[in-house]
């Protein structure tokens, strides 16, 4: 008789299950590229690849499709946004890490007890944490809100400067994009700076440098590769941004010959014309081909991160050490600039706070007067209840599918994969690639693949699309929390005779629970703020027919809160309601950030 080792069978089958989860991102990336490539073949065949890429007229009535103006607009706007947002973002991070004070040091000498208490309380606030939260909040605000803000405030004010009283164009787009990429750049730069060894700083001080000199001449250069990666991710975000750009760019496919010439980017071309498309026409194929070009650009940008060298070998230091006089003089001359840069960093940080304050105030001032119980909880349209239901469904279905897959993949990466193996490297590259795909491309894929599965726009089709969107986030943060579980715990479990699967499910996962919870909350945040991926998968239900009866069936089309806000605006019937919805969205974003903050805090306390 053959004795089957039950544990072994369990272990092997579980292993393959986890590999399967991890491979899903490969399948997804290939699926997306393959499907979009397949969809764009008619356009390339009829129009010609060269004419499509370098043609300068896009006119649907005559079936002429050339996207050169859009490619150029995308590039120009992105470069401008990254210069503006990148500089502000990097310097804000420098400020946060090196100069942001821990606490207020207010003094109060009067005798009013209440005021003294207040001052004491204010002094207790941890400023760094607050600043951190400011950045996270900026990152969590839905892009539709940025678009609204850009249209009403930035475009409106730029129009007074524009000789043609217009305001729409490359400048407005670049400012909005800059605000949107600052959080990405800042938080990644911050991580890079914090990873620089303490000794560098101490050594530099010991050499007689001032603090500013040490920071700008030693520490920032040491974090170069991280900062460059942060900027590249910022570029990726700027290229892929859709809804906000659509609202402030002007929408006409001109060459970007001036700051105030209305332009159209690749992403906005898709979102603007997809609604007017005839299914199966050359027009549809040309739009899908636009998506393919966009996808290729983004993939190149994201893969170029791998080319950034991990360490830069400085030659200057060696020269100084060898006593090269010129190098020494050049080094000494750099004394004053860092002191000036220090103040620049402070100004940048103030700008970021200013931007957040402006966006939030704009929404609150315009939105709060229009909030009412009937609007929030009423059953007669227009009310938010159907949108709440759809958002709830969207979160539920997305997480039910994405969490097991994401956690499975993370378990494979941490518990099973041999570090450094080629297979893992490939898997990881694909996961990162998936994270960089613009949401409008996910939307396009969902439109081609998931929507036909249900025959029409449907909340479920939207949820399937969102699974792809949130999967990388879940994998990443689950992975981090699994790595944080001490190796000794696993060893102890093995020592007691538990198999690998048992160890993972009984020991590792429970202790990684807070990390997984954080991952879920982050995913929820992404689902709540998403719009571009949902408009053509879950549909954009007109606000007047958005009823509870329609929303309870997830096979029906449905609008999440963000899409709902967009449709108020799109129909031109309820600007006030759009603002009120934005207030609700802001509140949710704030709440989700708060939850993540407390989960992380409780984890830190335990360790």
């Amino acid at each position: 008789m053959i004795k089957v080792n039950k544990t072994k069978v369990q272990d092997t089958s579980a292993k393959y299950l986890f590999i399967l989860c991890a491979c899903l991102s490969v399948v997804a990336v290939f699926g997306i590229i393959g499907y979009i490539l397949y969809g764009s073949i008619p356009a390339f065949r009829e129009v010609g690849v060269f004419e499509f890429l370098f043609g300068d007229v896009w006119a649907m009535p005559t079936d002429t499709y050339g996207i050169l103006p859009m490619i150029l607009s995308t590039l120009v706007v992105t470069v401008m946004a990254v210069i503006l947002g990148g500089v502000v973002g990097v310097f804000t991070a420098i400020f946060m890490v090196y100069w942001c004070p821990d606490k207020f040091h207010l003094r109060y000498k009067g005798k009013v007890k209440f005021l003294a208490k207040c001052v004491e309380w204010i002094n207790k606030i941890n400023l760094r944490t607050i600043f951190d939260q400011v950045i996270k909040l900026l990152a969590g605000i839905p892009s539709v809100i940025y678009g609204y803000f850009g249209m009403q405030i930035i475009v409106h004010n730029l129009a007074t400067v524009d000789p043609d009283y217009r305001g729409y164009g490359a400048l407005s787009t670049c400012i909005v994009l800059a605000i949107m990429i600052i959080p990405t750049v800042t938080s990644l730069t911050k991580n890079a700076l914090e990873a620089v060894p303490e000794q560098y700083y101490e050594g530099s001080l010991a050499m007689g440098n001032t603090k500013a000199q040490s920071v700008f001449n030693v520490l920032v250069p040491a974090a170069r590769s991280g900062i460059i990666s942060a900027l590249i991710l910022g570029i990726g975000r700027a290229v892929g941004e859709t809804m906000a750009v659509q609202m402030v760019s002007g929408g006409t496919a001109n060459f970007p010959t001036g700051l105030f010439v209305p332009i159209r980017t690749l992403t906005t071309n898709i979102v603007a014309e997809m609604g007017e498309v005839q299914i199966g026409s050359l027009h549809e194929s040309a739009l899908i081909a636009t998506g393919l070009v966009l996808l290729v650009i983004v993939l190149i940008i994201n893969l170029s991160i791998n080319l950034v060298p991990k360490e830069f070998k400085g030659k200057r230091g060696k020269k100084v050490l060898k006593g090269d006089k010129e190098a020494v003089i050049r080094f000494e001359k750099k004394g004053l600039i860092p002191e000036i840069l220090k103040y620049f960093a402070m100004v940048c940080a103030a700008l970021v706070v200013f931007a957040l304050a402006a966006v939030i105030l704009f929404i609150l001032i315009n939105g709060i007067p229009h909030l009412s119980a009937a609007f929030l909880f009423g059953t007669e349209p227009p009310s938010l209840v159907p949108a709440f239901i759809t958002t709830g469904y969207m979160i539920l279905f997305t997480l039910i599918i994405a969490l097991p897959l994401g956690i499975g993949a993370a378990i494979y990466f941490v518990e099973y994969a041999k570090p450094g193996s080629k297979f893992v490297k490939v898997l990881r590259t694909f996961t990162d690639t998936l994270a960089g795909v613009p949401s409008i491309v996910f939307g396009l894929f969902g439109y081609l693949f998931f929507r036909p599965m249900f025959g029409h726009y449907s909340v479920l089709a939207g949820a399937f699309t969102m699974v792809l969107v949130v999967l990388p986030t879940i994998i990443r943060s689950t992975e981090e929390s699994l790595i944080a579980v001490p190796m000794t715990w696993r060893e102890a479990s093995y020592g007691l005779g538990a198999g690998k699967v048992r160890t993972i499910f009984r020991v590792v996962l429970p202790s990684a629970f807070p990390g997984i919870a954080t991952a879920s909350v982050l995913a929820i945040g992404r689902i709540v703020s998403e719009s571009a991926a949902l408009v053509y998968t879950a549909g954009m239900v007109l606000v007047g027919t958005s009823t509870v009866a329609g929303a309870v069936n997830p096979v029906n089309p449905g609008s999440t809160l963000t899409v709902f806000m967009y449709s108020f605006f799109a129909e031109g019937l309820g600007f006030e309601e759009a603002y009120a919805t934005a207030v609700v969205l802001l509140a949710i974003t704030f709440l989700l950030n708060l939850i993540v903050f407390f989960i992380e805090k409780s984890v830190k306390k335990k360790r």
């Binding site: 929408g251 159209r264 609604g275 005839q278 706070v353 304050a357 349209p381 027919t545 009823t547 799109a570």
Partner: protein, 289 residues
């Protein structure tokens, strides 16, 4: 440290200040219309407008319309209203039925000296109008609930709702309430037809609790091609093209004017087709008087 607190405080003040500025400094009425707003190509409103605006030399806008520096392209009606509503140098066009709801931002101007009213559309004096149609591959194949909804639209009750802002088409038909089992009817397409369809759907659902009507946006293009596929019934704000008529049937439900709109404080009261043509094609400014 103190500097820092001051700086943060300053930033906050600046934020509040900008707001005060932005909300007070409403664009003083610009002397010219410099910028024209078009809708996305393929939109029903756009194709109707481009076809109907013909200059004195007999050239239609549709043969000359191209992407230009002075033309903004809006994806939706709302975008046109927002842009025009905050800038008196802009001119755009939207469904006549959507003008009244936005009277606090925009106003419709006369076209060729004729007021944009439903009466003038009916009499044919107002030159810019187009039909609202429902589209399906085969109307006989629709579910009972969908058929019932269409007959509600064509009934006296439905036409009364339509006539509020639009002009109902055809003689009213007999209508009886839906008696079948619970059902869903989905519509999609033109955002211009959307507001009307929302009102109709709300009234219909009030008397037929068994039926859920959902209306999704998009555009006339999807309205025609997605009918029977993405949704049961398509909506379009233009007539079917010859090639579309091979595979699609349609039912006309209403006529709608296209209003040319400007900022509510603009001094402009009248535009001629020549002015519109030159603005969209050549970028010739229109003096506001």
């Amino acid at each position: 440290m103190k500097k820092l607190v001051k700086m943060l405080a300053l930033a906050l003040c600046l934020g509040v200040g900008t707001f005060a500025l932005a909300s007070c400094a409403d664009n003083a009425a610009a002397p010219y219309i410099t910028t024209a707003i078009a809708r996305t190509a393929g939109s029903g409103t756009r194709s109707a407008f481009d076809e109907l605006v013909v200059n004195s030399e007999g050239e239609a806008l549709e043969d000359h319309m191209a992407d230009r520096d002075w033309v903004l392209t809006a994806e939706t009606t709302g975008q046109v209203v927002t842009s025009v509503g905050q800038n008196s140098a802009f001119l755009g066009y939207i469904s006549l039925g959507s003008v009244a709801a936005n009277a606090n931002r925009i106003k419709a101007v006369k076209v060729n000296g004729v007021d944009a009213t439903t009466e003038n559309v009916v009499s044919g004096e107002y030159a810019l109008s187009r039909p609202f149609i429902l589209v399906s591959p085969d109307f006989d194949n629709l579910s009972d609930a969908a058929k019932n909804f269409i007959s509600f639209i064509q009934s006296e009750q439905g036409q009364e709702i339509t006539n509020g802002e639009y002009i109902a088409y055809g003689e009213p038909v007999e209508y009886s309430e839906y008696t079948g089992s619970a059902a869903t009817v989905s519509l999609g397409g033109s955002t211009s037809v959307g507001p009307l369809m929302e009102d109709l759907a709300a009234a219909y659902m009030a008397i037929n609790e068994n039926v859920t009507v959902t209306v999704t946006g998009g555009g006339s293009g999807t309205g025609v091609s997605g009918a029977g596929e993405s949704f049961d019934i398509g909506m379009a704000s233009r007539a079917l093209k010859a090639e579309e008529e091979k595979t699609r049937e349609y039912v006309k439900i209403a006529d709608d004017g296209i209003a040319v709109i400007v900022h509510k404080d603009s001094a402009l009261t009248n535009v001629t087709f020549d002015q519109l043509f030159d603005l969209y094609v050549e970028g010739t400014r229109i003096e506001c008087k």
